[in-house]
Every structure is written in C-alpha cells, then in structure tokens.
Symmetry: C2
C-alpha cells in the first residue's frame, strides 16, 4: 500500500462545545490484515449526536472514548484486501470502526452491504443506525395508533425525519419541531408532516403546539430535551408515550440542567417515558432493516443526507450537528471507491 | 331512621396545605333507598394522598372534586336496608362513596366483602386500593427480578409497605426511605426490609443510598418525588424501571417544582418511568385481590393501620398523611357495625 493513512484521536475532553483542539489528526502506517481479517478503506463516516456523550468522562449508554485513542463510529468502507472467508476485495461493508482512512477488522466486526437495495450511504442512515433508531423507538416505545398525534423534536434530523414518516405510514397526525423555515417546509412539503413549528422564531411554543395538536399529544419522540420538551409535556394526553432518543440541547452543558419536575405530569397522565439506544434492539435489527428497506423501495420513505467532503473536515461536520443547520443525516465522505 | 346524618363538603379549594376551613360538616336527612339501591351506614372511610389533587381545580388523574359537594373516597359500610337483589341487611360492602354517615347507593356501586378472609378494614387497605396499587405498580411496571434492588420512597405508607413486602417475596433486595426511626425499625424488623433510610436525618441521601444499594437501583417505586427522587435517580442501573405512584412531597406546593432534568438519566440508563393509577388495572383486580389474599392468609404479607376515631376528625386524619407521622394505612372509624 502506497497510500497514506491517518487517524483522528481524542486528545482532551471537551468543555462545553467541542473544538478542533480537542482532537488530533495523526499519520500512521497502513496495517496488514491477519488471518480472518480484512483491510478496509473508509469511504464514508457517520457523525452523530450521541458521540458528544462519549467524549466526556461521565456515564453514558456506551463507555467514554479513551484519551489519545481514535474515535469510533459508524463507517462504510471498501474491502481492499481480504484474509477472511465470506468477504472479498471490492465488497462494501459497514461497521462500528475507527476514524481512520485505512484499518483492519475481523469479519465479525463488519456487515456486507447489498448496494442494489439502496446507495451505500443509507447503511449509515435510513437503513442503518438512524433508521433503526427511529423504527424501534417509535414503534416499540411510542406504539403509535392511527388517529393519534405524534410530536417530534429534532424533527429534521436524521432520526426525526424517519420517525415522522413512519408515524404517517401508521396513520397518525405528525407535528415536527425544528429550527428553520427551510427545514419545516421540507418536513411539510416533502415528507408530508401535518405541521411543523420553528422553535427559534415561535414566540410561544405551548400556544403553537396547542394550535397544531388540537387533540393533545399521544406520542412525543424526544431528540432534544430542555425547554422544548417542557412545552410538549404540558400537552400530554392520558397514557401518552415518550421515547427519549436524545437530549441534544443539553449535551454541551457542563452542569446538569434544571427545569420543572416532570414526574407529576407523567403521574396525572399515566404516561410512559423510556430512554433507549438502538443496540437495545440488536436482536431485531433484521426485522427493522427489512421493513425499512421495503418502505424505502416502495417510495414510502424518503431520506436526506448532508455530506461533507474530506477526512480533515470531520470535526466541523460533527459540530454542525449542534448548530441546528443540517437537514437529515450528516456524513463525511473520506474517499471514492477504488475497486469498481 | 332516627339517627342523624352528616356529610363533609369541600367549600373552598385549598391553597397549599388544606385546613379545616376548606371543608364544612353539614347535617342532612337520612335518605331512602330506591328500587335497586341499598342504604349504607359508613363504618370506615379511607383518606389517601391522591385526594389532595382532586381538591385543586387542576388536571389530575381523576376530575377535581366539585365545590359545595361531598368528598368521595373509599368507604366500608354496612347495609342497613336493601332494595337490591344480591345484597342483604347486615352485609358489609366497600365502594367509592361519599363522605356521609348514611347514604344510598346502587348495587353496582359497591362490592360485598367476605369478612372471613380478613378484617373489613383491609378492604380499604391491603386487600383494597392500596394493596392493588402496590401489586400492579410494582409487578406490572417495576417488573422486579430476584436479586435486583428495589428502592421505595414513602416506604412506611400504606402502599410502600406492601410494595416492599411483595419485592421481598420476589427475592429482591429492598431499601425503604421513610421519615422516622420508628418507621424504619418497623420496616426492617417487622417487614423484613434489607435497609431503611431516614431522609429527615440522613446528612447525605446519595451516600446513604450508595451504602445500602451497593449494586445500584433496578426498581424505584416512587410515592414522594422531589429531592428524594433526585437522589435515587442518580443511582439507576441500566434498564431500571420507575413506577410513579405518587408525588406527595409536591402536592401542597402551589407552583410547579423545579429540579435537575431527569431525561438525560433515563436516556443513559435506558430506563423506563411510568405514572399510573390503580384503576388502570381494573380488569385485573380479581387477579390482584386473589394473590394478595393468598399471601395475607399465608402470613407472607403484614399490614398496619392507623385508625382515627370519629367522622369529625376526618380532615385531621387526612392532613396526617402529609406530616409524615402515620405508619401504614390511614383510616377513619365513623361508626360501629350495628346489625351483627
């Protein structure tokens, strides 16, 4: 291999919003695969809000990233060399891998993608972790029924826009909360949401929710937390369900955020709230993938990707998640496929 | 009927802690049962924390009490005269009835008690709403497994002490939080709790919980809310379950209480929190009653009653719920059975 290799290390734990100084790009050799391994060239990598939690040294659903070690996350790559049965040079694979341009992995660490179903990038989005997160969080915890009202915070994010489309498939009224007119127009005109609220410009979020949810809120799919959630929770219907998928408004706060206590609202509404992470449903990924792929191929699901070009722009792409500007799944393109 | 009759009306909505001035005792005639009705003499009535919510004009799980109307709640009474098939003079019945010394009710409004199973007062406690609340909240929402740790706030209250005993039957480590040494000694020595914490005297509740819950908290049965819950929630294990049964620490606050946001803790622990009221399980009351009665008759469940004598002391008995002094089920004895 004559190509240069590089990895991105976490070198200090961010205080508040991360900066590039918290990371280091390091040149490293291209490794050799051992028996049972493949050499993978990274084509796309996924940046996701949950990664912010792993950058801190506090309890989260997955262990913190270690200092001076590479960041890991969802990666789509191409098999450059295979010493593993079942994987061949040129195969496109997806897995939880390091932020490296080239790396070795065992065959068990990756899954081969069938690029005839959908473009390979969907393996990091609608047919990957974000799609499955939406699918299981909404259907298993949210349990939407036809005619009910589903409210989604972070509605124009990679997970939120899948949640809304599945809720429409299930016959619900769907109201999204997002941070720009452009996003809200997309949610209504492209994805068929019944209404969308711009939390940045709405003078009174509770009033806007009352107008758009005349029958109250049966399911609140929460990606955001904070004051947006305070507003939605004030409109819960009896037996409401609240999947807690993310709390992106709080991830960069150094101290625990304070707000009105919610237990009384859960009590009087006999409501259910549950935190989850997609890996809780690992045994059912096959089911979720098949259903999402079927809807996608039938034209019932649309997706949006925001692709930043270049490994060197990875952290900028990651930070974009927190400024509320991106629509849909945020990806970084690291390289072109070489072996086609 | 030559006896005098009396009822207790709500005449103004309490601000903060209720006072006797919010209620009025009124003399009324003893009514005549119509066809299909019985005349009931109240023997015992139940005072319960949830009633505080109904005294306010705000949303709760049941509609607010109406002003200048009698308070309603759990009542055990004796059939004085029957014009209903299936009920005879001398029968002991339980139902959601008015705070009146005498009243008529349809046969459907009451359930006949079998006094050979347990004393009639248990129909308002361990074999009634409080026992069923503990049974369904713990088993259906809490889903305790042998070896897990169950923490209960309001542990020496009517519901809490049943929750703890059922959790012990299920093989759990059980830690109660209550407000006096006397209560905690009772929980440990009489009911077999593994540990009990006096929240009024413990200098550091989190530390005390860490010591008594070395393996973390799998189920938190919450009757109390507020800062006690903040402490317990900091020690949740992954996939913890939190039945929200009551929030007694907040019921007399006029404004919404503020505290650390809990959604991030539910998220990182993939925890489930659910509010409930016992009537959610009405279809399964038979199952719950049979199991509780079996455990009671087998000596596996104990109960404690705190009986205040006299209809005129009803409000004092009710207020005692909020001062943290009572152990077990709080009842008011209104009259002796007359027809034995």
């Amino acid at each position: 291999m004559s190509e240069n290799n590089q990895q991105i290390l976490l070198v200090q734990r961010p205080q508040g919003m991360p900066t590039e100084a918290d990371f280091k790009w390091e040149d490293i050799p291209v490794p050799q695969p051992a028996d049972g391994e493949v050499l993978i060239k990274t084509l796309y990598l996924s940046v996701d809000p949950y990664m912010r939690g792993r950058m801190s040294d506090r309890k989260s659903y997955v262990p913190p990233y270690e200092l001076n070690q590479p960041i890991t996350g969802g990666v789509v790559g191409e098999v450059i060399e295979s010493k593993a049965t079942g994987l061949s040079q040129g195969d496109i694979v997806v897995g939880m891998l390091d932020w490296k341009k080239f790396q070795t992995a065992s065959a068990k660490q990756v899954k081969k993608i069938d690029p005839t179903v959908a473009p390979m990038t969907t393996a990091l989005g609608i047919l990957g972790m974000t799609g499955l997160t939406a699918y299981f969080g909404l259907l298993d915890i949210g349990q939407p029924k036809a005619g009910e009202t589903v409210v989604i915070s972070g509605a124009a994010g990679a997970v939120g826009m899948v949640v809304g489309q599945i809720a429409k498939i299930k016959g619900c009224r769907v109201v999204g909360i997002a941070g720009s007119e452009k996003k809200n127009e997309y949610l209504i005109n492209q994805l068929g949401f019944d209404a969308a609220i711009n939390y940045k410009t709405t003078p009174n979020l509770v009033k806007a929710l009352k107008e758009t949810c005349p029958n109250g809120v049966d399911v609140y799919f929460d990606n955001v937390g904070g004051e947006i959630s305070d507003a939605v929770l004030s409109l819960l219907n009896p037996f409401a369900r609240i999947p807690i998928c993310g709390q992106i408004s709080l991830y960069n706060l150094e101290n625990a955020n304070v707000g009105p206590r919610i237990q009384p609202l859960l009590l009087v509404n006999k409501a259910l709230m549950k935190g989850f992470i997609v890996s809780d449903y690992a045994e059912r990924f096959g089911e979720g993938y098949r259903q999402l792929a079927e809807w996608l191929q039938a034209g019932k699901l649309q997706y949006e990707e925001n692709i930043v070009d270049g490994f060197e722009n990875t952290i900028q792409a990651f930070l974009g998640l927190f400024t509320g500007e991106n629509l849909g799944k945020q990806l970084v393109k690291v390289a072109e496929p070489s072996m086609r």
